[in-house]
Amino acid sequence: MVCPERRRKMKKERIKDIFKDWRVLTLIVLLILSVVAINPHFDDKGNFTTNLQYGLDLQQGAWLQLEFQAEVVGFTTTQPLDTFVSDLSKSLDTEVIVVDENHLEIRKYYTQEQLEPYFKAAGGEIVSYQQGVSKDTASTVKLILEQKINSMGTKDAKVNTLTGMNNVARYVRVEMAGVDMNQAQQIVGKQGKFEIRVQTTGNQTEHVLYGDSITSVQTPSKDTSGNWGVGFTLSDAGAAAFRESAIKYGATVDPEHHQLAMILDNKTVYSAPLSSGLASSLVSEPTRNMVASTGTGTYGMQQATTLEIHLRAGALPVDVKVAGSGSTSASLGSHYMTMCVIAGILALITVAFVIFYRYREPRIVLPMVLINASEILILLGFCSAIKFQMDLPTIAGLIAVLGTGIDQLVILTDEILHEGIVPSPNVYLKRLARALVIIVTAAATVLIAMLPLALMDLSTLKGFAIITMMGVLVGVIITRPAYGKIIMEILSE
């Protein structure tokens, strides 16, 4: 017989033992780190807030996925590369860019069948075909879009190019918080195409350069004589093309009759002669920095502001088409958020009831539910730490994790408490190991099943897959071993 006093002391020590175990300690440290990462606090206005980031279906915002109307083609040719490319460019009536020695980027949409005769005519052959643009072009587009969205004053925007195999990007995805679909479309959906042309004779013009030759655009400024203007910089190739065209078509000799026009979406947004200074300096060498003057006073300033946007906004080198889009209003977003919180808490409570119904033992049910809740907490902490944007599928994934988590705790408990008898430590460890084998096998199948989704760009499902996999890992590595230790100490008295 053990006297009550001694028993109490033993129990106290056992609980102390739990907190000395490294598995339990790891869990506690992670829980603390998670709370720090989530950082629940009240903001300046006294509203409760956390560090969790929400996707566009849980807050107001819109996203657009744009498809590049261009293709990257693998080729072989018997012709010299330069001739081949310029022939193709002429016959296809678009820019053809050399990506590497075996690949060309064609900046206009053609199917492979449509392209084949052109390639044959130019003395080459198509080896591979993929819709999209090269990695370089994709990152240029990303930069341009970012610049453009920022200049529109949209506060929270993200632009991502989705680069697939072979470094070809087919899509670019734009996410903007705080706007509705219509505004988003106005900002990015319709892309302008910018071009500078030079007047040849009468109303005829010739192509000089496209917007992608403009490397930077300055904000409007006023010169000493009160003239407003927008400065911009050309790339070396752009500057050379500019000089060549200006000389070839007589803009340097007779600026008034050979004006330079800026065209956005086939509309002339600006047209002016070369200044006499620039005209004479171009004859001797190319110039990279230029200023487009727009006149004096308020009118000049307004014109300069518009031109700046045109210069920036028009600079997309490739046409795009809306492939997919979505938006959520502020009220629906917060409605979804409330529903998700309710669903999560109710699910946890329901699980607790079912478990209680089965075991009728608070000493088992309580740790089980707490471990389950702590898995969710750690996952949320992880999301905060890596600034992962939680969306609806992610939350469904979290609740699914809650479901698998409890499954595994049941396996553990049943293996250990075989026929309701708490075993001796040796037998206990053997049984724990046995249970872990089942759990690890089951976890491995979930990891494998989710891996393809996590690696693919299946839009919203990536988040779901990553959260599920993380949940499985956290469970197998951290929370379930800790649960094994806790349940052993609690029950083995």
Binding site: A62, E67, G324, S329, H335, L392, D414, A442, M450
Partner: protein, 284 residues
């Protein structure tokens, strides 16, 4: 667990697998029929076929909504509680879509819009198909590696296969479209379904004791696992249905259907094959 008693002992392997076999055949027929009719095993939602979905909370009746969108290719309107409406449109070009979003911004500023273009939908569909196939193969490999015996592994893989096929057939019958969300649910189901199968197989093959005791023990644990999961997913389903969160509701519905089939396929199909394997002398 006193919910219901099920005595695996009583039935022969043949008796155990008869019901699931019939259901599997029916399911395969349903899927074959749907595949022949529309070219896909499950009717695709707008994520894959292309189109636009609008979620809005409005007291307007479906007829009023139809009138508002008379100029657009409206496909269906489904109603939830609390005035929630889920409206789908067929494919349209960029200009038409832009005028639709302008109309929605004006008329229903609180709407949620999801739109997928046809070619993008096709890309997603191909990738989703690959994802499911890869996930299934990956699962099978893990199962074979961990049991290293042919028939028990086949039993587990077959049960998971039956789960997915029956769930897919049921999706056709109750009208849940295959979308990104339900694809995720089907993949999740692979994970859930092997959970209890692995428990069962491990208990039977790697433990000492009488077969019937081991089966009863595994059932005891397995059924509580599945019922807790069912409980959690039911809550998710009810809340998302009340709150009209379409994507979550579809995920939850598919998981619910799948878990019910999983109970059957684990405790009839898998048990049946495993019992037959052990009785004829396999697994010592």
């Amino acid at each position: 667990m006193g919910l219901f008693s099920y005595n695996i002992e009583k039935y022969s392997p043949k008796q155990l697998v008869i019901i699931p076999t019939i259901l599997l055949v029916i399911s395969l027929v349903v899927i074959a029929f749907v595949t022949v009719t529309i070219g896909m095993p499950v009717k695709p939602g707008i994520d894959f076929s292309g189109g636009t979905a609008v979620t809005v909370i409005t007291p307007d009746s479906p007829d009023q909504i139809r009138a508002v969108f008379a100029d657009y290719p409206l496909v269906s309107i489904s109603e939830g509680l609390n005035n929630g409406k889920f409206i789908t449109f067929g494919a349209m070009d960029d200009a038409k879509y832009q005028s639709l979003t302008a109309l929605i911004s004006g008329k229903y500023p609180d709407a949620r819009i999801d739109q997928v273009g046809e070619s993008f939908g096709k890309t997603l569909q191909d990738q989703a198909f690959i994802a499911i196939i890869l996930a299934f193969i990956g699962m099978a490999i893990v199962v074979f590696i961990s049991f290293r015996t042919f028939i028990p592994s086949v039993a587990v893989v077959l049960s998971a296969f039956a789960d997915m096929v029956m769930t897919a057939a049921m999706m056709n019958i109750v009208g849940i479209p295959l979308s990104l969300g339900t694809t995720a649910a089907l993949l999740m189901l692979i994970g859930y379904s092997v959970d209890s199968d692995i428990l069962l197989t491990t208990r039977v093959l790697k433990r000492q004791g009488k077969l019937n005791d081991k089966l009863a023990g595994a059932f005891h644990t397995g059924i509580i696992m599945t019922t807790t999961t069912l409980a959690a997913i039911s809550v998710l389903f009810i809340v998302s249905w009340l709150g009209q969160i379409q994507i979550v509701m579809e995920i939850a519905a598919v998981l619910l259907i799948g878990l019910v089939f999983d109970i059957m396929n684990t405790w009839l199909t898998n048990v049946g094959i495993l019992k037959w394997y052990v009785l004829k002398g396999g697994g010592k």
